[in-house]
């Protein structure tokens, strides 16, 4: 028996036990427990593969790709289990309950795909006083400046000096961690309103949220325009070089630089709505104090 067929055999055996006995007889309709048990069930074929193939590390053929035991097992498991899993949810009437665990916005909400805060968490935040220290004028200004500095300095470091620094990987992890810390703080400062589904907001908050997205889109488009203009500038500049054929360009960039571009755009996509909302708040506070 080839190694591929052997792996598929014990995947099928594991799934048979899970879907014919464990889920229906033991777990029942508890979708939360089912999700956790699915992690355990996925771990069983992986553990068997590790025991059998860790040392020898043979190549596994999947369609046209050669994979190691880990990726072959996990991809084969996913491809075989997914249709069985979806059919099981349908057949047992668990479809809505299962997906409701991962849904942040209420079912049918126009914000279902985008909201990253639940109605319950926004309602809690709207009456929160614990994070009021982040909602003073000074704190709002500091948050905007500090989060931008963190993103830009981290990006500059990865673009320019990462390859020369021996500990660049650790510093890039700090950069990524800071992105999520500032995202968290910005969200607390605006009481999650920028990331809330419309069902959690009244008409004024909805208007503020929508206005924030308009502003955030304009800022993000500016960042993207600057980025693609730099690319265009580089191409035009390359044309002036003697070696250029005027059509083909070579851009060489290393892994830290890929990280820099990815996390720059990712961070701004996450944070700009909250930053825009904070800057609107500051503008209102300025008008109020006049």
């Amino acid at each position: 028996m080839s190694n591929e067929l052997l792996v598929i055999f014990y995947i099928l055996a594991t799934l048979a036990i899970a879907y014919l006995w464990l889920y229906p007889k033991v777990i029942g309709n508890n979708v939360k427990l089912m999700a956790w048990m699915d992690v355990v069930v996925t771990g069983i074929p992986l553990a068997i593969s590790a025991v059998l193939f860790w040392q020898s590390d043979p190549a596994f053929r999947l369609f046209t790709f050669d994979l190691n035991w880990f990726f072959f097992t996990i991809i084969a498991m996913f491809l075989i289990e997914m249709p069985i899993f979806l059919l099981y949810l349908k057949a047992r009437g668990l479809w809505d309950d299962y997906w409701a665990m991962y849904r942040v916005a209420p079912k049918g909400s126009p914000d279902a795909a985008w909201a990253s805060a639940s109605v319950k968490s926004v309602e809690k935040q709207l009456n929160d006083t614990k994070w009021d220290g982040l909602r003073t004028t000074t704190a709002k200004r500091t948050l905007i400046v500090a989060s931008n500095l963190s993103i830009l300095l981290g990006t500059a470091f990865l673009l320019t000096s990462a390859t020369r620094e021996p500990g660049w990987a650790a510093l890039s992890l700090i950069h990524i961690l800071l992105i999520f810390v500032f995202w968290f703080l910005l969200r607390q400062s605006v009481r999650l309103v920028a990331d809330a589904p419309q069902e959690a907001l009244d008409e004024m908050l909805l208007k503020f949220r929508d206005r924030s997205y308009l502003t955030a889109y304009r800022w993000l488009s500016l960042i993207v325009i600057l980025f693609v203009s730099a690319l265009m500038g580089y191409s035009v500049f390359s044309d002036l070089q003697q070696m250029s054929d005027g059509f083909n360009y070579t851009i060489s960039y290393n892994w830290p630089q890929v990280q820099a571009v990815f996390w720059l755009l990712f961070a701004y996509a996450l944070m700009l709505p909250s930053m825009a909302m904070l800057s609107q708040d500051l503008k209102k506070e300025r008008q109020r104090s006049k």
Binding site: L126, D202, E203, M204, L205, K207, K284, R288
Partner: protein, 79 residues
């Protein structure tokens, strides 16, 4: 024909705070009765937010007055 710049738009003045205190309602209580967050009532009272017609009608109903008695265009302060 078009919308005026925000700075030139007519402000909407109101007597929400006056009528609310007369009816012994806190911002939170009024907010709950009209279905908004209490901060929204604060914004309306300070004239920083003009409510929708539906919200204005709800506020008027809770405060026992007509919409015109509570909200009006503040032309004096727009000059």
């Amino acid at each position: 024909m078009g919308r005026k710049p925000k700075s030139e738009e007519e402000r909407v003045a109101n007597r929400v705070e006056d009528l609310r205190t007369r009816t012994n309602l806190s911002r939170q209580e009024l907010a709950e009765q009209v279905g908004v967050h209490y901060q929204t009532i604060g914004y309306i009272e300070r004239g920083e937010y003009s409510p929708s017609l539906v919200l204005a009608l709800r506020i008027a109903s809770v405060l026992g007055a007509s919409v015109e008695e509570i909200f009006w265009l503040d032309e004096e302060n727009n000059e």
